[in-house]
Amino acid sequence: MNNGVLDSNNLNGGQKLAVKYFSVAVILFVAQILFGLVTALQYIIPELFFEVLDFSVARTVHINALVIWLLFGFMGAVYWLLEDEAGVETVGLKLGNLAFWVFTLAVTIVVLVYLFVQVGPGDDTTRWLINEGREYIEAPRWADIGIVICILVFFYNAAATFMKGSWSGISGVLILDLVALAGLYLAGMFYTTNISVDQFWWWWVIHLWVEATWEVLVGCIMAWGLIKLLGVRRQIVTTWLYIEVALMFGSGILGLGHHYFWIGTPEYWFTIGGFFSALEPIPLVAMVVHALYDSGVHKFKAANHPAMAWLIAHTFGNFFGAGVFGFMHTLPQINLYTHGTQWSASHGHLSFFGAYATIVIAVFYIAVQQWRGGVWMSGDLPGNGWKWKWSLALLNIGVLGMTMAMLVAGYEQSFIERAIEGSTWSGYFAAQMHPWFIQGMNWRMVFGIVTAAGTVLLVWDLLTIGKGEKRTRQEVS
């Protein structure tokens, strides 16, 4: 043990690999924020980087960096808890390491091609080598295949380690969830000219990832986190995890229907999508109750205060961002007017941040704590822990502010472009030029800068927290 210094001797095999994933995740997080700032600014100064780095290019990088940094964060989190949970060393670690480098190289090439090649002709070569042109899964086909192979290696590492060691409720749910996660990606890997069928399966990847399998994956991380940080009894968190899986899949799988209102699919999806997606917030409320109740029972005595704070931010962010902001426009009666407006962007920002960014950041803090030798990270940190507290505040205020600004713009768009003007091109621009929309975009920019400031502080804190700390971590029982 080497206290207070970043030393890989403090980590087990799986954790050594995990911190590599986390490092790339942090870099991509910063990239996401930078390209987000560019797109936000292009709403205000449309000629910015015109025909050099157009909105479409910057946004592609913005949303792809988001997906990949979260995925890297999740994969790192699983490698992180693997040996601890299974009780044996990671199986096939060398292969896992190789997959990490292949994955990272592939991501780098894909991003460079997005930035410097950008577009291609309307043939199959473009889709295989440059850009598939489908939102969130723009990665060209060669990269899709690479991603699937890397995910299979990751799955092998996890499943084989649990099989060699011991299974638990958490690992059982986790492994089944990873099977679904990997399998669903395949639903996005084909071409069809029929755009209705195209979007039907596209939503299997997008919705069933973010509103089902990712939610259950973070449920597993949360369950493990509560045991580690608070010392909650395993039986309690496992039971909660099962309840959450039942509620999450019970509502989220058919909640897919809320994407099938307007893409050509039959009208019965109004009822199915509306009903089940209205139920989707329930498991998220359950998580808030669960985490806060456990924290209260343990008198908020936690082994890692920044991580615990981010876990609590996760439960609220997940509930408000995914739950409340999702529900607000999920019924077809309102979605007819809000679908494809800034309203969706508003929900998207708060939910991705609240549900996923928060919990991955919590795991980053758990990782640096161990990386520095399992040092003290509870109260009484140098400078009263101002860096983690301020970055927590700035990031949450920043994202919440952007969400509200875009919501105002979205309201205005729904009324003016959609309800009154009838969604024509001139109606679209009438709404885009309305003062309420412009104000919304300006405030989004302001809060985007707040978010960026929070990100800078977060990175600084992750690099320095626990440096030179001699006390060992707070014991929890």
Binding site: F50, F55, T60, G122, T193, Y242
Partner: protein, 196 residues
């Protein structure tokens, strides 16, 4: 302490498994029902050769929203196409829209980015003045968007190096997409003036 049945780990594990399996089964059943209903040539998603016909978007009293309505012949660029030719042209058009990453500024069927107008009913947009001028205006716009900008917001579509043939293919795809029955999305749309 005796655990009540409703707080039992075992009970909830079983519920989780059964609920998940049950929902997946229902989803699979619905998928089998939906896919044929949205296949090309179905009532909701017409065959590609619909681009030979007049397409409109008219309020339907019974369903209480606008639906696509098909009229007589209105061949695209004055040329009637066979089913195969139409499919080839629409396919090329869609591949171009993917290759040029259109969806990261525009929305198609409402999905995509919000920096530029929705393209679901672009073929029917009143911006194209009337059905006589429409095709020419669309080709001009696609081939040189910055110099044919149609709004005063300052936002322009970049030049995407689209040739005339490519523009025609994109327009074929847009015309076909406007024929899809989208359950009244977009609402209250005001289609272009068309003859016939």
């Amino acid at each position: 302490m005796i655990t009540k049945w409703w707080a039992s780990e075992e009970v909830w594990r079983k519920i989780a498994v059964w609920v998940t399996a049950g929902m997946l089964l229902v989803l699979m059943g619905l998928t089998f029902d939906t896919i044929p209903k949205i296949s090309v040539g179905s009532e909701r998603v017409p065959a590609y050769s619909i681009i030979n016909q007049r397409i409109d978007y008219v309020f339907d009293e019974k369903r209480n929203f606008q639906v696509p309505v098909f009229g007589g012949e209105q061949p695209l660029f004055g040329k009637m196409l066979s089913e195969e030719e139409a499919e080839a042209l629409v396919t090329w058009g869609k591949k171009i829209t993917q290759g040029r990453n259109c969806i990261n500024c525009h929305t198609l069927l409402g999905n995509g980015a919000y920096f530029a107008p929705d393209l679901t009913k672009a073929w029917l947009d009143p911006n194209w003045v009337d059905s006589d001028l429409r095709e020419g205006l669309m080709i001009n716009f696609l081939m040189d968007p910055p110099n044919n900008s149609m709004n005063s917001s300052g936002r322009k579509m970049p030049n995407m190096d689209i040739s005339e043939e490519e523009a025609k293919a994109i327009i074929a795809f847009l015309k076909w997409m406007s024929s899809i029955d989208t359950n009244g999305f977009p609402y209250n749309f005001k289609p272009v003036e068309q003859e016939g």
